[in-house]
Amino acid sequence: MTQDEVLVVGAGPSGLFAACELARHGIKVRLVDKEIQRHRQARATAIQPGTLEILDSVGLLSPFLETAEHVQCTRLYNADLSELRAATFAGVDCRCEFLCSLPQYETERILETHLVSLGGAVERGITVTRRQRWSATRAPCSMSTI
């Protein structure tokens, strides 16, 4: 690590997006994750209109629109399956008046593809074991490779 480099720990959606934005602004970034392999778990499956707006603001909306199901309406049901309430996203003051539904590993795949296109990469199998204040004689953190 050098002093003008940013370390992002964890290559989930937040870490990937942070690394993409740093790379887009020309800042050197290392993105590490302790897992050796990508997961195949659904985890967070809904991207809200406000998050879609942020993805749009950095030019990343179209791969999400192409990959995800667009959820226009949510309905709540009683135990007897009678409808309790329905709500749409019409008039939410956002460019996207719907949710995007996709498994989290797809969100991560899109963001990782984008990061690679910006010259970045995910370093897998690396665990951060210690962090400390920067000084001239020692690195700010220690990492172990599986």
Partner: protein
């Protein structure tokens, strides 16, 4: 969109006189015409003509990396919570960060100070003079 705002946060400054003359949206609330802007810049919206055009241009250069100064004659000032002209700063999340009921030298100095509280300007362009600002121009706190 989201039923949240951050009125009164240190992130926002409101120079509205006494608070009573100004309408919603207040700084901290979302600017309702945000969807026509976008991107990751801050936007300075100037309503009516600035009395300090040279200063406004300098402000644009000093903050060129993170702030866009926009004139939108078709955007109504009432939508930004102003009645008799002025300036608002819209943050990248679409929420208003700063409001001043004029677009003169004092407004530019106040905006420059507001931006300096959390962003880094072009160091080759000097900050704005704030000595002539009166105490009454301090932002009021809303709680």
């Amino acid at each position: 969109m989201l039923d949240v705002d951050y009125i009164g946060s240190p992130l926002v400054s409101d120079y509205a006189e006494n608070g009573s003359g100004m309408a919603e949206p207040h700084p901290g609330q979302r600017y309702p015409d945000w969807t026509r802007f976008g991107g990751t810049s801050h936007h300075v919206l100037v309503f009516a003509s600035s009395t300090d055009a040279e200063g406004l241009a300098r402000l644009g250069r000093r903050w060129a990396k993170c702030v866009e100064v926009s004139y939108h004659p078709d955007v109504r000032q009432e939508r930004a919570g102003l009645r008799t002209g002025g300036m608002v700063l819209v943050r990248p999340d679409g929420h208003i960060g700063f409001r001043f009921p004029a677009a003169d030298a004092a407004a530019l100095a106040a905006l420059d100070r507001h931006l300096s509280s959390y962003l880094i300007p072009d160091p080759t362009i000097a900050p704005f003079e704030t000595a002539n600002e009166s105490r009454s121009q301090e932002p009021e706190s809303r709680s």
